[in-house]
């Protein structure tokens, strides 16, 4: 075991897969000579050369399409989006081509491409660059969507994503690149569709993924002081979704809080609320609560920016609500 950063775990995953399979290439803005905008690709140009670690022009639609095309002819490209906010430029390529080609070709093509980059608000980035876009990608059949919260999961899941024959959107976050965690020295993979139980409790089930898991863990410590114990479920992958683990927990706790830093309207979080409400109907003692971003463009004012996002306090309030202790 070594304690490494989230950033380093991603680098290791890419490095190991590039060493393992010559078809794995990395392309995106500043990934090569600058070693990546967030230094995820540090040292990879030196090791694998400019044919496999490729700096692209500032044209998301162009290089995303390039990656999809390369995947169609047998490569395993990793496309780095400097942030998911810029991926909006490339959505036509992702939705119309990546997500559809395997289906529309009757399985003649596979599209083994990974789109990865930081998602969700960081700080002081204002409305256009503080968006959590998982709802958009999760909405689209034909895409897999992965959202780890620890270095261990990030590494194991990214390796699985690279080896998957379907397009995978891999969500990271600026605020998470420095997070540290234990990662085994030996190789490992984590399968998709397998949620992790981060904490065991009896009174409430709290579900989240990616950056929100730390908020939930913070809230769990606080509510424990009030004698409330929580099951914390980290989904790890949004598509495929591990519903079973969530339902099993709700069977025990009879209460559920979902945390998602995207906007509440038609989101992964609101979808989960529907699933739990429908499939655990007779198990629920209170309506499922959703803690989401406030339904507004991100304010630039820092105080408002914080207030617009899920917080430990908001999660605690939701827990108190489902326990009728508010």
């Amino acid at each position: 075991m070594s304690v490494i950063t989230f950033r380093e775990s991603l680098r290791q995953a890419i490095d190991e897969e590039m060493a393992r399979d010559d078809n794995v290439i990395l392309l995106g803005e500043e990934v090569a000579q600058y070693n990546g905008a967030y230094k995820v690709s540090q040292g990879l140009l030196d090791r694998y050369g400019p044919k496999r670690v490729i700096d692209t022009p500032i044209s998301e639609e162009g290089f995303t399409g390039l990656g999809i095309g390369a995947a169609l002819v047998g490569m395993r490209p990793i496309v780095e989006w400097m942030t998911l906010n810029f991926s909006i430029q490339a959505m036509d390529q992702v939705f119309s081509n990546a997500a559809k080609m395997r289906y529309m070709s009757g399985g003649q093509f596979t599209v083994p491409v990974v789109f990865r980059g930081p998602n969700g608000p960081a700080e002081y980035l204002a409305a256009q660059h503080s968006q959590a876009l998982q709802s958009m990608y999760a909405h689209m059949p034909g895409l897999k969507v992965v959202a780890p919260s620890t270095p261990f999961d990030a590494k194991g899941l990214l390796k699985t994503a690279i080896r998957d024959d379907n397009p995978v959107v891999f969500l990271e976050a600026e605020m998470m690149y420095g997070w540290k965690g234990e990662v085994p020295n030996e190789e490992y993979l984590i399968p998709f569709g397998d949620a992790a139980l981060r904490r065991e409790g009896n009174d409430v089930t709290i579900v989240g993924f990616s950056k929100t898991v730390r908020i939930i863990e913070g809230a769990a410590v606080q509510i424990e002081k009030e004698g409330i114990s929580a099951d914390i479920i980290d989904l790890r992958t949004i598509r495929p979704l591990d519903e079973k683990t969530v339902y099993e927990s709700v069977r025990k706790t009879n209460r559920c809080v979902i945390v998602d830093e995207a906007w509440p309207f038609a989101s992964v979080g609101s979808h989960l609320c529907w699933l739990v409400s429908k499939n655990c109907f007779d198990l629920l003692d209170a309506p499922v609560e959703l803690v989401s971003a406030e339904d507004v463009p991100m304010p630039y004012n820092h105080r408002l920016e914080r207030a617009a996002q899920p917080s430990i306090e908001k999660v605690m309030n939701a827990v108190m609500k489902v326990l009728y202790r508010d």
Binding site: N254, F281, D282, L283, L284, D285, A286, Y324
Partner: protein
Amino acid sequence: MAEKLLMLALSPTMETGTIVKWNRQEGEEIATGDVLCEVETDKATMEYESMNDGTLLKIIIPEGGNAAIGQSIGVVGEKGEDVSALLEEIALEKKGSGTDAAALQVSKETAGGLPSTGKGYAGARKEEGGALTGVGGSSSVVDEAALPPAAVSEAPFTGRVSGPGASIESSRAKASPLAKKLADQYGIELSRVQGSGPGGRIIKRDVDAARTISSAAQTAGVYGVVSRGGTGAVQATAAYAVPGNVPSGQVPSGQAPSRDIPTGPAPVAEEIAVSGKRKVIAERLSQSKFGAPHYYLKAVIAVDGLMAARLEINKKRQNDKLTFNAFLVKFVAEALKRHPVVNSSWQGDKIVRFGRADIGIAVAQPDGLITPVLRDCWNRGIAGLDAELKLLIEKARANKLKPDEYTGATFTISSLGTYGIHEFTAIINPPGSAILAVGQARREPVVGVNDGIQIRTNMTVTLSCDHRVIDGAEGALFLNDMKEMIEYPVFALY
């Protein structure tokens, strides 16, 4: 925005409530917390407090009328507001419900020969009526419509209201899906459960409470009266001469059934509808008697000393004489302190040992009985207990007890002494595990020292114990300690 005022569950077991009195009239301003009306529940008359500020625009259920929980009893809103749409909705809500509101509705609509769409018992009746009116009207229609509310009170209100526009809010007891499932599992009627969630939603903890603690709803199996005063025995004796006056459930011992074969016309049996309260009493008593394995311990206690002491103390008090029962409660409490196992509750998977002696006193009412509870008897003196006991008994007789005043007794005392009963056994009042049945204090000859015959005042008490909690020897030790304390009060300090 005008809103309906809904009948609320004002007692844990209430299904319908009768409006005894409207304290506010139509058109009057009301504020949150104002007492709008007084509602008679299955147990007591409760104050209905406003949860709105505004104007009482309409009274739907008049004084004397009754409504099921969740049914509209009035409309509140802003002065001058148009509430016709809301009233229409309420009219629809009434169809299919089995209370006064429904009966009134039936009478109004059949008279006008309106087409009918309602469902349920009342609705069916109305359909019939409508058809008859269609062919020229008939007196039978009016008769049907004029049926007293009791005759159409069979249809439960829950889930049966299906008229268009009937809102979910008003037509059913709100409960979480889990609470519904659990209630079903435990065989608890949701309409008898008071919801503690938002808007009165019944949630898991309410169903759990209904299953255990609130089954305390005062039901010891005794038709006892406490503290009738000095003339009680005389009254009771007189009452026995008139069978009709005997408290229900008691068979006068002096009246042997006649062995003569009746020769006149066959007597007509009278059927008496079971009231909500009687139903609760029946359910709880059966549950206790058939669920808890009872056994009984009897002891004879000499009370000459206590009676003399009471007399002396009362000489110093002008008007407010201490009752015998206040002394009894205190000695029971002291004995419970020494034997906490008697002050416990069987909870299926665990035994709860209460940290306080809350002693219930069975009190007879004209239509049943109730058990007001004296809280924390360990830490209170006899004079304090006596004052509260008098207050509670007065409230009990006037049907004014609030649920928290008659639930959760950890031990219960029932006395039939003033009815001239020598000794009897009582049914345990859950959640407690024991009940003390107190008979009459009587002057009796007793064999004393050197075989001399003395005259003593003896009182026979019988302790009913739940064997799941209290074993025989422990019950006996409790009873013996209590006896010693009453006979030699210094033991209470020992």
